[in-house]
């Protein structure tokens, strides 16, 4: 059992949890994730680790409510316990001094790119961050990102805050202005990572993405998470989750992510109906 010590709603449908997990807190590096299972009947889902505090033995998870499990987790309060948290899993991000790094976060992906932006900054890179959201009320971690970035740009799809448009629009601006960019890290919805990768490809700007495929065990045992990178099958949970965006077959990823769309709808509707009754 893993106890929730703090819980905070960061934005509509986006919650932050600080959880007691000393073993994981000691080991986790930026880019790694955990698998969690809420209770005996729960499914196993991957969540990237946002922050760790090895001294206190805690990890921070930022979770968007999208399906049954994440909605249910949204009702968990400080003091509640999560049945299982397994990790840290996956390969850590490669953090090196490369020069100028553009860290891009789309929606809740901002919580995942945050520790990496921070680590790149600590390594002495010039960090430009672009974080994008649907609308003002979904903006998260702006202050945190500002602290670890040399420049920060916020975009919203509807223009209600920051620049109107997508993160890729801002990136395009930077590229067209002739800014020297050595590395792009893009983490967010698959479609966003695809657009960013397509954008940087002709310029030959190295682009790293973090693939959020469907997982079961998270240790290489099942192959649920398989993705195609450079024409080869890879397991996102052990070979990734980070890959060269220019090599990833995003269309396949997007299709595979929708594999249980129908079941996810059934489960969520059933859950929300029950919750409504309670």
């Amino acid at each position: 059992m893993f106890k929730i010590l703090e819980r905070e709603t960061l934005a509509e449908h986006i919650n932050k949890f600080v959880v007691e997990a000393p073993l994981i807190a000691k080991k986790a590096l930026p880019g790694q994730f955990v698998i969690l299972r809420l209770h005996e009947k729960g499914e196993r889902i991957p969540i990237t680790i946002c922050e760790t505090d090895p001294e206190k033995g805690t990890i921070t998870l930022v979770v968007q409510e999208v399906g049954k499990t994440t909605y249910e987790l949204g009702t968990y309060q400080a003091g509640d316990e999560i049945a299982d948290i397994i990790g840290p899993l996956g390969k850590p991000a490669e953090i090196e001094k490369v020069g100028t790094v553009v860290a891009i976060g789309g929606g809740v992906g901002t919580a995942i790119v945050y520790p990496e932006a921070k680590a790149f900054k600590e390594k002495g890179n010039y960090v430009i961050s672009i974080i994008g959201f649907r609308s003002k009320r979904f903006v998260i971690l702006e202050e945190e990102m500002r602290k670890v970035s040399d420049e920060l740009y916020v975009t919203t799809d509807d223009g209600s805050y920051g620049m109107k448009g997508f993160v890729s629009d801002k990136l395009k601006e930077l590229i067209e202005e002739g800014r020297k960019i050595d590395l792009v890290i893009a983490i967010g919805p698959a479609i966003m990572m695809k657009v960013v990768s397509d954008l940087t490809r002709p310029y030959g700007i190295k682009t790293i993405v973090s693939l959020n495929s469907i997982m079961v065990d998270g240790t290489g045992m099942c192959g649920a998470c398989r993705v195609e990178v450079g024409g080869k099958t890879r397991f996102a949970c052990v070979d990734g989750p980070e890959f060269d965006g220019h090599q990833v077959d995003f269309d396949l990823l997007i299709k595979r992510l929708a594999m249980y769309k129908e079941e996810e709808r059934i489960a969520l509707e059933r859950y929300l109906k029950e919750r409504g009754k309670a």
Partner: protein
């Protein structure tokens, strides 16, 4: 005296059982068990024991069954085998003890496995599971990584010798393949839980959710005061065919299909959260026990047609005969001498067909089975909604990649001494599928047992 025939196993009728995940074989009644036990000749030189990898004292326990001393019979088995309810269900007895039974020469061997199962279940039902007498604690810590049959056996034996044993398991539930792989209808999970509880009774501590190599390393375990480590990691990495279209939607590895079904209880979706997609026409590729488990699970998930696609013929299938027969009774359709060349998808990326090529059997290969060779131009399309690939597993490198001191062979399995389980890293022992490659529950247990002995010796003498 009239010859008693081998007593058949009462089973759920096929048309019923394909609608549920409950156990197929119902087990002997006391009467059937005693009657079957009476068939045993009590050979003074029992060959059956030679056939048993852990040398259960078979004639002795059967004699106790005959005398209706069921509780004593259970104790007798447990002297050599800590997991009798499991072995009685899943051991390939026809290739081990029963193969050597003298009665089998002219007729049918004694149903040793069924008797073992009966005795273990009887003991459990009658609440007579007792903690054996335990020696004084030695105050020495040993770590066991992996809670499959190898790890469980090793841990149990070490605990009985007085060691403080901690098992570290990556999944959220202990049991290894017994929990995530073998289906409920062949091995009910409460039986595995019962056996795991017995280990807890012996004082074994079980820590789940710990991926050794990720959450903690072997070096750290030694630093924490563990004096020896046993690795029972299993062969958990799924093999794929490596043909075009394999990542289409609706194509599962057997590991994923069975894990969703057994560990995550996807057959109870949406009461349980984990979903599984099983269409009307399911094809399982492979001919082993894992393939049989997958295809029979597919039927229970509601498939209208469940097919086996196997590249050799029925005679070469590695699955146990009993399981093949069960599958046949349940209406599984077997397609022999065909091999997949590629998968074909629809516009949304879902698998809709497999291109199969017909095969014929040629010369025997290194496994002694006749090698299948494709017949040119015989390709055809086999329509499917769901595919499960059950062509085998290999070693999972998660722990070994971060522990280079442990030598591996060219297939990625650990090089360990057969008698002791010693690896190339001091204080680290290994056994089960991670050493032998995919084998059996009982062989994994045998390995765990030999390693426990060797660990004890190492810790007493300090000699490596």
């Amino acid at each position: 005296m009239k010859k008693i025939p081998r007593q058949p196993m009462p089973k759920q009728p096929p048309e019923e059982r394909i609608k549920n995940f409950n156990e197929v074989a119902l087990g002997y009644t006391e009467e059937l068990a005693v009657k079957e036990a009476e068939r045993c000749l009590q050979c003074p030189r029992p060959f059956c024991v030679d056939g048993c990898p852990v040398k259960v004292k078979i004639p002795e326990f059967i004699k106790l069954v005959k005398e209706r001393k069921f509780s004593e019979a259970a104790k007798k088995i447990k002297e050599d085998n800590v997991l009798p309810a499991i072995c009685g269900r899943v051991c390939p007895q026809e290739e081990q003890c029963e193969k050597k039974c003298v009665l089998g020469i002219k007729g049918e061997p004694v149903a040793i496995g069924r008797l073992e199962r009966f005795v273990a279940d009887w003991e459990a039902e009658h609440g007579e599971i007792e903690k054996p007498e335990m020696p004084e604690k030695k105050g020495i810590k040993v770590a066991v990584v992996g809670s499959g049959p190898a790890g469980l056996t090793c841990a149990g034996d070490l605990a009985k010798m007085g060691y403080d044993v901690t098992i570290f398991e990556a999944l959220h539930k202990p049991g290894g393949v017994l929990i995530y792989g073998i289906p409920e209808f062949r091995l009910p999970k409460h039986i595995v839980e019962r056996e795991v509880d017995y280990l807890r009774l012996l004082g074994v501590e079980i820590k789940v959710d710990v991926v050794v190599g990720k959450s903690i390393t072997l070096y750290e375990l030694f630093d924490m005061g563990y004096k020896a480590i046993f690795l029972g990691l299993g062969a958990g990495l799924p093999k794929f065919l490596g043909i075009p279209g394999e990542n289409l939607l609706g194509i599962y590895s057997a590991n994923e299909f069975l894990t969703r079904t057994n560990l995550m209880k996807a057959y109870l979706f949406p009461e349980y959260d984990t979903p599984i997609k099983v269409g009307k026409r399911v094809a399982v590729i492979g001919g082993g026990n894992v393939a049989m488990d997958a295809v029979r699970s597919a039927l229970r998930h509601g498939a209208e047609e469940a097919h086996i696609i196997y590249r050799r013929s029925r005679a070469e299938m590695p699955a146990r005969l009993e399981e093949i027969e069960n599958a046949e009774e349940e209406g599984v359709i077997f397609n022999f001498l065909v091999n997949p060349k590629r998968f074909i998808g629809d516009e949304n990326g879902w698998v809709k067909g497999i291109e199969l090529v017909k095969m014929e059997l040629g010369e025997p290969d290194e496994s002694g089975r006749r090698r299948p060779v494709p017949i040119p131009g015989s390709e055809f399309i086999f329509e499917v909604d769901t595919v499960v690939i059950a062509i085998g597993q290999t070693a999972n490198p998660v722990l070994l990649d971060v522990t280079p001191e442990i030598k591996r062979n060219r297939w990625g399995y650990i090089e360990a001494d057969y008698e002791t389980g010693k690896t190339s890293m001091k204080g680290v022992f290994a056994g089960g599928d991670i050493v032998t490659g995919e084998a059996t529950v009982i062989e994994a247990m045998g390995f765990g047992r030999r390693a426990a002995k060797a660990i004890d010796e190492y810790l007493r003498t300090g000699k490596w």
